[in-house]
């Protein structure tokens, strides 16, 4: 009880800070300097229709690299964390799970390729429409999820996942480095021609990078899911 009271008290303090932020906040009517720059320059400099994508992949590409690395790290650590337990206990203890229904099995058989396709679409078109590597990656991972739901004991190749992860990561980095030599700097997308604004093959390296991100994120999400699911039975 006292604990709750204390927590409330301090949260009240934090609330005061937030209240201060709110009361002093005045919504902008205009874009600020940065926003305006992006609005005005993205099209000709980067060539991406989706400004958010341009920012994520190019302007703030380093953030995104970090972000991808966060997922990479998380996946790795989850694998270490959960892998150790499995290794210790051995896999013989897996309990018998009821088989999933026929409908789910068949459905997933049909759905998985579709979902994968959707994911690919989302991340390839990231520079044009809403969505991109992360969303696409998540969609790809949902396909894996579906497969896992269908057959919890299904064995996924960790090796495959990690190779996809590594390759896409390395390519991402490689393209970034190419930017230093071929264009204005690390992660500059203008190593490829910007192309025609609004078309699929435009915006320089963005579609490539976003695809790599999509692959990588998908692999990482999948790895996490698989690792969690393999803890089953311990």
């Amino acid at each position: 009880m006292i604990k709750r009271f204390i927590v409330l008290l301090f949260l009240l303090g934090l609330g005061l800070v937030f209240a201060g932020l709110l009361s002093g906040y005045s919504a902008d009517n205009e874009l600020n300097l940065t926003g305006r720059y992006y609005a005005e320059h993205t099209a000709q400099d980067i060539g991406a229709a989706n400004i958010v994508t341009a920012i994520i992949v190019t302007y703030r590409g380093l953030d995104t690299l970090g972000e991808v690395t966060v997922l990479f790290l998380t996946a790795t650590i989850v694998a270490v964390l959960l892998g150790r337990g499995v290794a210790q206990k051995g896999k013989s203890l897996q309990r018998d799970l009821p088989k999933s229904g026929e409908l789910l099995t068949t459905g997933s058989f049909l759905l998985v390729p579709l979902i994968l396709l959707l994911g690919a679409y989302v991340f390839i078109n990231g520079h044009l429409t809403p969505g991109g590597g992360f969303q696409g990656g998540a969609i790809v991972a949902s396909a894996i999820l579906l497969m896992l739901l269908t057959d919890p004991l299904r064995h996924f190749s960790h090796r495959l996942i990690s190779i996809i992860e590594s390759i896409s990561g390395l390519f991402f980095l490689g393209i970034g480095v190419l930017g230093i030599f071929l264009a204005g700097g690390f992660l500059d997308n203008r190593i490829f021609p910007i192309g025609e604004f609004g078309s699929l093959f435009s915006a320089g390296a963005i579609p490539v990078i976003y695809s790599l991100i999509g692959l990588k994120v998908g692999a990482e999400f999948s790895s996490m899911l698989v690792n969690f699911s393999e803890t089953e039975g311990s």
Binding site: K3, R4, V7, L8, L11, L14, G15, F18, L21, L22, Y25, A27, D28, N29, E30, L31, N32, T34, G35, R36, Y38, A39, E40, T42, A43, Q44, A49, N50, I51, V52, I55, I56, R60, D63, T64, G66, E67, V70, L71, L73, T74, I77, V78, L81, L82, G85, L128, T129, P130, F134, F197, G198, V217, M224, N227, F228, T231, S234
Partner: protein
């Protein structure tokens, strides 16, 4: 509208923190944190919003020339995207830890994990 979202976001943050700091069950703490994270995301998006403008995607509806007066600020959105993904990373990690802690002690009561102290 912005203010409503912002207030909601702040309230969610505070509620999330309250939940995280009062519930002794580790899983519930993580759940509470995810609520708080959602709150943060809402605040972030709200800051970038400008009344009456559209999404920062240039297409037929928003020609390049008019972009500066038609779209909302794209930066916060980019930030939120990153924040969401990072949030997921941390949440996943916490979950993995939670599982591991449970495996060690057979309990999820955070107060039980205090051999390290003083």
């Amino acid at each position: 509208m912005v203010y409503v979202a912002m207030v909601t976001g702040f309230i969610l943050i505070l509620m999330g923190l309250y939940g995280a700091l009062t519930n002794s069950n580790i899983l519930r703490m993580i759940v509470a944190f995810s609520v708080a994270n959602t709150g943060v995301n809402i605040v972030l998006v709200a800051v970038g919003y400008i009344d009456g403008r559209t999404a920062p995607i240039l297409d037929a509806a928003v020609p390049v020339a008019e972009a500066a007066v038609r779209i909302i600020d794209p930066v916060p959105q980019a930030l939120v995207l990153t924040a969401i993904v990072i949030g997921l990373g941390v949440t996943t990690l916490m979950l993995a830890y939670a599982y591991k802690l449970y495996e060690i002690k057979g309990t999820l009561d955070i107060a039980q994990f205090s051999e390290l102290k003083w």
